[in-house]
């Protein structure tokens, strides 16, 4: 190889390297956060799946979220990651003979769990059904709005996440952003969900909801007692669902879910399926219980029953 050739080659290589550098810088400037943006943007971007976080990492993540939410809403927000309690498996029962279709549970849930108010996201959907036809979904009324409930000849069936033992939704998630916790609650890691909505197609109960838009949640309405896997404010573009009020029920005081508390007729029952003396076990063993869409083998931990 002559000197000239060698020189030419070096020049070519140099210019190529320069070009690559320039290209990289250009792409970087376009796609990545600006130089002065806070480091937390990067931390959020590279955050690991909740289940892969070590203890220290988890504390850092919680602190970062608290700071972020507090700044966003202008008040102190607590973000917990209370783990499941040993020996507890949560179950839920709903008395169809009592429910009057008032939807207090729907809005109680929204208040407790920081759902978007605009557009509205409801984790509970109450169906108005015809007594003559039973649970005939094709004629279910979703947007019934009479002056007074219950209406004659009608009964009401609230539907929310059934916290299945064999959940079709977690199975289909391509990135394991949703799973069943040890106490039986099916949760979503909002920081890991990619928003593909495959779980929504898989759920037979319409229990999963998508943040089509940045949540409209006024600071005044924010419930500041939150859980990472539950009612903390959700980012746009991810899926959310009922968590049996994970931020309440895992507390040592053993609080009820918001929907159980707010129900004016006592149609909603909640407890530990592993405790033989619990109310939920009594209902399952002594009342006429049925499971919604039993043929799909989802094995819900959510039971409908008729007490009277």
């Amino acid at each position: 190889m002559s000197d000239k050739e060698a020189r030419d080659k070096r020049i070519l290589r140099l210019s190529r390297r320069k070009a690559l550098k320039g290209l990289a810088a250009g792409i970087g400037a376009l796609a990545l956060p600006a130089k002065d943006s806070p480091a937390s943007v990067w931390e959020a971007f590279f955050q690991k799946n909740f289940r892969e976080l070590g203890k220290e990492d988890l504390q850092k993540v919680l602190a970062r979220l608290e700071k972020e939410y507090s700044a966003q809403f202008g008040k102190a927000v607590k973000v917990k990651a209370t783990p499941p309690v040993e020996g507890v498996l949560f179950g839920y029962a709903l008395d169809l003979s009592r429910c009057i279709g008032c939807r207090r549970c729907v809005y109680g849930c929204v208040r407790e769990n920081n759902q978007s108010r605009d557009p509205q996201i409801h984790w509970i959907r109450v169906l108005q059904l015809n007594k003559e036809k039973g649970v005939y979904l094709e004629e279910a009324e979703h947007y019934y709005n009479p002056a007074k409930v219950p209406e004659p000849g009608r009964f009401y069936m609230p539907v929310q996440c059934h916290q299945c033992k064999n959940p079709p939704c977690t199975k289909v998630c391509p990135v394991q952003a949703t799973w069943t916790e040890k106490d039986g609650i099916v949760v979503v890691d909002y920081n890991w969900c990619i928003g593909c909505r495959y779980c929504m197609a898989a759920c037979p109960y319409g229990a999963r909801h998508f943040n089509w838009k940045k949540a409209g949640l006024p600071a005044a309405d924010l419930n500041t007692d939150t859980h990472y896997l539950g009612n903390r404010p959700r980012p746009v573009g991810v899926v959310e669902k009922c968590t049996f009020c994970i931020q309440r029920v895992r507390e040592p005081s053993g609080r009820y879910t918001a929907c159980v508390e707010v129900c004016p007729v006592g149609a909603r029952k909640f407890g530990n399926l592993l405790d033989p003396d619990s109310e939920i076990r009594y209902i399952i063993e002594n009342k006429r219980v049925f499971i919604f869409k039993e043929d799909l083998n989802t094995q819900p931990k959510f039971y409908y029953f008729y007490a009277t």
Partner: protein, 428 residues
């Protein structure tokens, strides 16, 4: 290394040269891509609320396009089978053009999925080791794997063949033949996995029918080859590549058989649902008749049915199959017929009525149209660029020079009408 670099530079020179028609085509595609990019930027900023998708119908136009294009990608490669069986002369051409169509369609598929997801910047969560790919549990994880493998496979085969032809040597058969043969089951598997993605959901009776995957394949074998027939005609008209009428008619005949199978399987499904008349009939009623006053999909599906049946008859009767006017009408009808049937006609009734019986009438918004248009333009742009390089190589107009490194470019125009072909057509 230097040889590859020279080849690459040659391809760059090539894509910048062409007739006015070529430039007009490329720039109109670039224009549409820009429009699509703006629409997508708007969607990124505002969220998926700018689409017509909602919790009830959580997948829509994007996923419909995705599903259709997986079929096109699969079927383009399946044409290699008849090419081998009937010993068609331009088998290399058919293989390369098919594989490149598959590459372009795959790129469109991946783009359609990307624009559909809520957090596209978290795509890295899908990469094994770095993120978590839920394989083998999630069928979507399977789809990610097979689609990407298929993309790489087709890219490797076509680039390998072309690079060798550019160097004026026969591609090593012991390398290409196994890969080409492997691409056939790969093509079938991408479409099967995509069908299973829907098929596996017990919550959605319209999709939860075991006939779904066979129907997917049958309909894909219609739309992909229909596109190829039209493409073959364009290519032989505007470039030097020779493709015999016989090959085109044979493909048309295969389409007729596939369409028969597709219609038969559809009939089997319609019979089962209507005769047994269970609650699972609702989605089919919504699609074909309208349900409780909701009839958004009815005109679409009947258009598709009329298109498909007409095209089936056109391709079945030898006289109309071997007449280029009716043949092309048939191709267009099939392409759009399957586009409706395997797109909106498949995705929407799976989601409406929803799992609690609510019917949300979905119909895509302007943003969804523009983003989709941009993606189609991107796919056609990619395919045009690939063809711009591939066709001169296949014709011997772009090859390595005497010195073994500098490329020789004989084809300066691309997309010019060939006079002899015009007169031959006029004589018919």
């Amino acid at each position: 290394m230097k040889m590859i670099w020279e080849f690459f530079k040659g391809t760059l020179v090539l894509v910048f040269r062409g007739s006015k028609a070529y430039y007009a085509w490329v720039f109109s595609l670039l224009g549409l891509m820009a429009v699509g990019a703006f629409a997508y930027a708007h969607q990124l900023q505002a969220g998926l609320i700018v689409t017509a998708m909602r919790d009830q119908v959580s997948w829509g136009f994007y996923i419909s396009n995705f599903t259709f294009l997986v079929g096109v990608a699969a079927a383009a490669v399946l044409l290699i089978i008849p090419a081998y069986v009937y010993h068609w002369k331009p088998i290399k051409e058919i293989a390369v053009l098919g594989e490149m169509l598959a590459v372009s369609a795959m790129i469109m598929c991946l783009m359609f999925v990307t624009v559909d997801i809520g957090r596209p910047e978290r795509f890295w969560h899908l990469i094994p080791k770095i993120g978590i790919l839920n394989f083998p549990q999630s069928l979507l994880a399977w789809d990610v794997v097979v689609l990407n493998l298929y993309l790489v496979l087709n890219l490797v085969i076509s680039v390998y063949i072309l690079y060798n032809l550019y160097h004026r040597r026969e591609p090593n058969k012991s390398f290409t033949t196994p890969l080409l043969l492997f691409s056939i089951p790969a093509a079938i598997s991408i479409h099967t996995v995509t069908a299973f993605l829907y098929n596996g959901l017990a919550a959605r009776p319209f999709w939860n029918a075991s006939i779904l995957a066979p129907r997917f394949l049958a309909s894909a074998f219609c739309s992909g080859p229909a596109f190829m027939i039209m493409l073959f005609q364009v290519i032989r008209k505007y470039t030097k590549t020779e493709i015999k009428d016989e090959a085109i008619f044979k493909v048309a005949e295969l389409i007729a058989y596939s369409m028969f199978l597709n219609l038969f399987l559809l009939g089997a499904e319609v019979f089962k649902e209507y005769y047994s008349n269970t609650i699972h009939l609702a989605p089919m009623q919504y699609l074909f008749q309208g349900l409780h006053g909701h009839a958004t999909l009815v005109p679409y599906i009947w258009t598709a049915m009329i298109f498909n049946v007409t095209a089936f008859l056109l391709f079945l009767i030898p006289q109309t199959r071997e007449n280029f006017v009716t043949l092309n009408i048939g191709c267009v009808l099939i392409f759009f017929g399957v586009y409706i049937e395997k797109g909106m006609g498949l995705v929407i009734p799976g989601l409406a009525p929803d799992v609690l019986g609510e019917i949300y009438d979905y119909s895509p918004t302007g943003i969804e149209f523009l983003v989709s248009l941009g993606i189609w333009a991107t796919g056609l742009f990619v395919y045009t660029m690939l063809l711009r390089v591939a066709i001169p190589i296949l014709n011997g107009d772009f090859h390595v020079g005497e010195d073994g490194t500098t490329p020789v470019i004989a084809d300066q125009m691309f997309i010019v009408q060939r006079p002899e072909r015009v007169s031959a057509d006029a004589g018919k």
